[in-house]
């Protein structure tokens, strides 16, 4: 079986092996760092991990339908849900244009002693769906509208 490799074959083997080893090393490193690479935690992850009061985290999920309440000139309360678990949020400040009920959101802040997440920044997260307004209206009318859920858990 010891057929001698040509120099080209040797170089090619070296490159393929090198890339495979490098890929494996990077995969292991990223797997080990996975908690630091995620941008936000869902409400379920927060309760599962027992992320406690006062810890600075980013909370991501959907703004629950009907949960947005104006509580002051620039203060609002809303609930972030991943369709399994939910966390109440309070925020004072300017909201992004895309902030609305049923849409994705990422809030940065900490859980207060009363269990309410006090956010000091709120970012809107939109999903991968793009369509004209007429199509969205037609889908809603025909009952084919599926409110998102894709972004919530992932």
């Amino acid at each position: 079986m010891a057929r001698k490799l040509t120099r080209k074959q040797k170089r090619a083997t070296f490159i393929v092996l090198g890339l495979a080893i490098l890929g494996g090393a990077v995969a292991l490193a990223l797997f080990a760092l996975r908690d630091n690479v995620v941008f936000f935690y869902s409400p379920t992850e927060i309760s599962e991990r027992g992320l406690g009061v006062g810890q600075r985290i980013r909370l991501g999920g959907l703004v629950e339908q009907g949960s947005v309440k104006q509580a002051g000139p620039a203060t609002i309360h809303f609930t972030v849900t991943d369709l399994k678990d939910k966390i109440k949020v309070t925020y004072t400040g300017i909201l992004p244009d895309l902030f609305r009920e049923g849409q994705g959101v990422v809030a940065e802040g900490a859980i207060g002693p009363d269990g309410v997440f006090v956010a000091d920044s709120v970012l809107a997260k939109h999903d991968e769906k793009y369509m004209p307004p007429e199509v969205a209206a037609a889908l809603k009318k025909s009952g084919e509208w599926r409110p998102e859920g894709a972004t919530g858990g992932s």
Partner: protein, 250 residues
């Protein structure tokens, strides 16, 4: 491949062929991009959530795709250069880098301009944005390596190794939105289960992407021609300096 690869990889033949090809390819790119811009700005509907801001997508997404395509071309050319030691492969890798860096820069800037109105921020350190920024730095590092090592053969080899090592980042960029929670939304076109983008918006996007790709081919051929000519000038200068009494730097 049935084609005799080496016949086309000969620099002299490449110069002859590319000379005739650059202009028509550039014209096709121009027509496609003009059509794409028209459809993107006037011939497509606003988005049901984002309104007219969605039109940034028609530049942002093709630029981001091209940033990955350029890098893939660069890595393939670098591997070919290392294995087969073919001079055209080096020229191809070196010529693709500035184009790729420009597309990456364009994707970063348009993404930032899009992020401010939609997300509420110019920049976040999520996995997608960070990995694309790393791609940009890889391009810059690659170019810097070529610029610092004076001797072309050694520069080519060092740069090719960097290009191959950096290739690990390409699948990470693509899957970053799947593997981790990110602020950036997941893929809309290249995804399991088909595109989640309305046909009236997908058409201009694909036309723009094709236009950008054809433009990349035209630019790559043009840059490769310039690089080959530059190398010829360099070797002529060296020969001249040799005649003129040896050792004098050109």
């Amino acid at each position: 491949m049935a084609l005799n690869f080496h016949a086309y990889a000969n620099p002299a033949r490449f110069m002859m062929l590319s000379r005739r090809l650059v202009a028509p390819i550039a014209m096709i790119a121009g027509v496609l991009i003009a059509l794409g811009v028209y459809l993107a700005l006037w011939g497509s509907p606003p988005d049901y959530q984002q309104g007219d801001t969605v039109r940034i997508m028609y530049i942002h997404v093709p630029a981001a795709w091209l940033s990955l395509l350029c890098y893939t071309v660069m890595a393939l050319a670098s591997a070919t250069a290392l294995v087969f030691r073919h001079p055209l492969a080096d020229v191809c890798a070196k010529s693709a880098a500035p184009i790729g860096a420009s597309f990456t820069f364009l994707a970063l800037v348009t993404g930032s301009l899009w992020g401010k109105p939609m997300w509420g921020t110019w920049w976040v350190w999520d996995a997608r944005l960070t990995s694309v920024l790393i791609l940009f730095f890889l391009y810059l590092g690659y170019l810097a390596l070529w610029a610092t090592i004076e001797e072309p053969v050694r520069a080519a080899r060092a740069a090719a190794v960097l290009a191959l090592v950096g290739f690990v980042n390409v699948p990470i960029i693509h899957y970053s939105v799947v593997w981790w929670n990110t602020l950036h939304q997941p893929a809309s076109v290249f995804r399991i289960g088909g595109p989640t983008i309305a046909p009236s918006m997908l058409a201009p996007l694909l036309i723009m992407a094709t236009g950008f790709t054809v433009m990349f081919v035209a630019l790559l051929l043009l840059r490769m021609r310039a690089e080959i000519l530059r190398r010829r000038v360099r070797s002529l200068r060296l020969a001249q300096a040799g005649f003129a009494g040896g050792g004098r730097e050109a």
